[in-house]
């Protein structure tokens, strides 16, 4: 039997890191009500910290990509875990709103942002040539699952032992992750005398060391000159708007508006999460085999149709909503593996971290705008129909955008060749 390739060990460590980072990030949602009770802060005041957290989670991604290129994945992840641990642990002593903004907003936002999807993209691309899409799908799914599986436990802790217990558990979990990462994480296959899994030639040489801020801004400069960057960033903005921003934030209140009990509504979201794991893994597997543009075309097209169908689904009670859950859940973050693959194809693997970081920032920007806009629409219109239909239309635009991604820098896949050759 062949020895297990070390890439799988790195992927496993990364999987747990991403799972934990997603859990850390989602914690503030559980703390809103307890903090409100103890300090008497308004929901708006607390939401500012959550907003800072969400924005930095996205906007710090490109700089995290630059940091990983400069200092190495292992050091950056260890630093990020320390940051999250410090930010979460210090909240125990806070008594002013600005301290919440600083700790949960800035410190935890930066910490979790350093470990998010950019880490998945870099690890999958450095360590895997074959099975890259599958690995990326599994890592992305960890980020989605992490938000679901920890929330009930954290909520239980916050209710029964106080919010300080929940914050300390997060701090402790982050500290526990440090030895795991320090012992098993490696930056590049060459560090352990290997080639990337399935690679036929030596790894790209490590790029010259760069200032991470300059690297991040350089990635942006490289991106904005390329048409494909705008097509990818634009479609990913819509992706963020139609998932995290709209459904993640507003499906539960919308279901309650239509007379569904809160627990049932929360379960709907949980089921979407379950189908999402399946969908993202399948998407990763498909990304290894098919043209990524076509995958995205169908993902966005079907997502758009299911959102246009949603106002009718509420009228059909549970059967309609069940259809929506399956249809929509399967491609919740299924868009990530093909988008990363297209970014890598256009900009090369050594630039992937920073360029994809910016594309992901666009995703978070879309999420934040949609979360706010849908809330405003609900307040003003008294109904979500407009928000859901607008998102559906935006997804159709995304389908039109991705299919226009330039062919020039892409390998020919899906042409009449009998079996698609390895495409990278």
């Amino acid at each position: 039997m062949r020895r297990l390739h070390y890439g799988w060990v790195v992927a496993g460590v990364t999987w747990f890191t991403l799972l934990a980072a997603a859990g850390f990030r989602s914690t503030p949602g559980v703390l809103i009500v307890p903090l409100q009770h103890e300090f008497g802060w308004s929901r708006a005041t607390i939401s500012i910290a959550v907003s800072i957290n969400l924005m930095l989670f996205g906007l710090f991604a490109p700089f995290a990509g630059g940091l990983m290129e400069r200092f190495g994945v292992r050091r950056v992840v260890v630093g990020a875990l320390l940051t999250v641990s410090a930010g979460s642990g210090l909240t125990v002593f806070m008594h002013e709103p600005w301290q919440l903004d600083l700790l949960w907003g800035v410190v935890v936002g930066v910490g979790t942002g350093s470990m998010a999807t950019v880490l998945a993209a870099i690890v999958a691309n450095r360590w895997f040539v074959q099975r890259r899409g599958l690995v990326l799908g599994a890592l992305t799914a960890a980020g989605a699952t992490g938000q679901l599986i920890f929330l009930p436990a954290l909520a239980w802790l916050a209710v029964n032992m106080g919010w300080r217990a929940a914050a300390l558990v997060v701090a402790g979990a982050a500290l526990l992750g440090i030895p795991l990462v320090a012992l098993f994480m490696r930056d590049r296959p060459a560090d352990v005398g290997l080639r990337a899994y399935g690679a036929t030639e030596a790894d790209d040489p490590a790029p010259p060391l760069q200032n991470p801020v300059r690297a991040a801004l350089g990635g942006l400069a490289m991106g904005v000159r390329n048409r494909n960057f705008w097509l990818l960033a634009g479609s990913f903005f819509i992706c963020g708007a139609s998932t995290n921003g709209l459904i993640g934030t507003h499906l539960i209140p919308a279901s309650i508006d239509h007379g569904m009990p809160e627990v049932t509504a929360a379960s709907v979201l949980a089921f979407i999460g379950v189908f999402d794991v399946v969908g993202t893994m399948i998407s990763g597997w498909l990304t290894d085999r098919l043209d990524s543009r076509w995958l995205l075309f169908w993902y966005y097209g079907l997502r758009g149709l299911s959102l246009l169908f949603l106002p009718y689904a509420f009228g059909m009670q549970y059967f309609g909503l069940f259809l929506f859950i399956v249809f929509y859940g399967l491609d919740w973050v299924a868009t990530v593996p093909p988008t990363v693959a297209l970014t890598a194809d256009t900009f090369g693997r050594k630039n992937l971290g920073v360029v994809y970081g910016w594309i992901f920032a666009s995703h978070q920007l879309g999420a934040a705008s949609a979360a706010f806009a849908a809330g405003a629409v609900r307040t003003y219109f008294g109904d979500y129909q407009l928000a859901f239909m607008t998102s559906g239309l935006l997804c159709l635009i995304a389908a039109g955008l991705v299919i226009r991604i330039g062919r020039a820098s892409l390998p020919a896949v899906g042409t009449p060749a009998p079996l698609p050759a390895p495409s990278y």
Binding site: F297, L308, F381, L393, L396, I397, G400
Partner: protein, 365 residues
């Protein structure tokens, strides 16, 4: 039958002179309605609002509570949207004790076809752009991909997408302007329009236009996707039919198909002729004959269903515009027969403009 909602009965009746103000004003329409804005505004003899709150709808009925002790003439102004998305409004007066001058704001505006004149113009313009966009987007694309196999004609489909995307916001403003021109850009009025059945039809029309755009981009890589275009075109024709005048005497699905057939064959003829002018192809003759035949048959059937007597061609605005449209179709056919296709195209654009006005007017039945 679903078309523009008309006031059938009201309590108090128009022109009635009562001893005391009733607590409720009730209106009954020709079909189920949704209130636009507050639905019913009742103005007292002093010109102030006498109705309290928004009107409540129940099936064909709409009612609002009124309060006030003044005697004199009260003005009732109603604004509704029918389930087929057509807006309509109207007004009448009744008096308590004695008649007095009407002092309601905007009363006696001189409506055309149950809506404000500027609203009717905007509605017609929006429909004209929509129909032209439909013809270029789907008709010309089907011509390019199935008949001529010539990519030059496909560029017209891009123009069609733009026309469709411009037509839909215009239709939204036409909807609000039809009910009250001074509220065309009012947030609450636009909100109300989007929340009504009109909003869903608008969303589906935009979806069809954007899906067409996406498929046009994908065609370069997957030629088989051309089959999506006739399907999408048929779907949009059905959406349009659901917002067209309902057909009396026919079961609902049959009327829907008849309306959709009329829209789809219009698109094939107009779009096909436009594409033929750019990139002539011999195979178009048979397609044109078939679409023409079905277009005329479905058009005649629809006209017969909407009229009680031929006299209505002269006595109703709907009939008058139709009486202009039909000879123009004959002129277009003449140009087609003489192979003067540029003239045929120009005439057809005028025919579609007339059709857009017809669809915006209430039919005789």
């Amino acid at each position: 039958m679903f078309a523009h909602a008309r006031l059938v009965v009201s309590n108090p009746a128009p022109g009635a002179v009562l001893d005391a103000l009733p607590s409720v004003v009730e209106l009954v329409f020709s079909e189920p309605v949704v209130a636009a804005g507050r639905g019913i505004n009742v103005y007292g003899p002093d010109g102030r609002l006498a109705s309290t709150g928004a009107a409540r709808a129940s099936g064909d009925g709409l009612s609002v509570e009124v309060a006030g002790g003044l005697s004199g003439t009260y003005a009732v102004v109603w604004t509704v949207v029918a389930s087929d998305t057509h807006p309509s409004r109207g007004e009448f007066t009744f008096s308590v004790g004695h008649a007095s001058p009407v002092r309601a704001p905007g009363f006696g505006g001189g409506d055309l076809g149950l809506v404000s004149p500027v609203g009717l113009v905007l509605q017609s313009l929006g429909r004209w752009m929509h129909f032209a966009g439909y013809a270029l987007g789907f008709g010309a694309a089907v011509y390019a991909l199935f008949v001529a196999r010539d990519p030059r004609a496909l560029r017209l489909a891009g123009v069609g997408v733009v026309l469709l995307l411009v037509a839909e916001p215009l239709a939204l403003f036409a909807q609000t302007a039809s009910l009250d021109p001074s509220q065309t850009f009012d947030g609450d009025a636009l909100t109300g329009a989007l929340a009504s059945p009109f909003g869903r039809v608008l969303g589906l029309r935009l979806a069809a236009a954007l899906a067409l755009w996406a498929v046009l981009g994908a065609l370069r890589q997957a030629a088989w996707l051309r089959w999506a275009l006739p399907l999408l075109g048929a779907a949009l024709a059905l959406v349009d039919a659901s917002a067209a005048h309902g057909t009396p005497l026919l079961p609902f699905p049959l009327g829907l198909v008849l309306n959709a057939l009329h829209v789809a064959t219009m698109g094939m003829w107009l779009g096909g002729v436009a594409a033929f002018v750019i990139a002539p192809a011999g195979g178009f003759g048979r397609v044109a004959d078939w679409s023409l035949g079905l277009l005329v048959v479905s058009g005649v059937a629809l006209a017969l269903l909407h009229f009680d007597s031929p006299l209505e061609l002269l006595t109703t605005p709907y009939g008058a515009v139709l009486a202009i449209k039909v000879p123009l179709v004959a002129v277009a056919l003449l140009f087609a027969w003489r192979a003067r296709h540029r003239w045929e195209l120009a005439t057809l654009l005028v025919v579609v403009a007339a059709a857009s006005v017809v669809v915006s007017l209430p039919p005789p039945r």
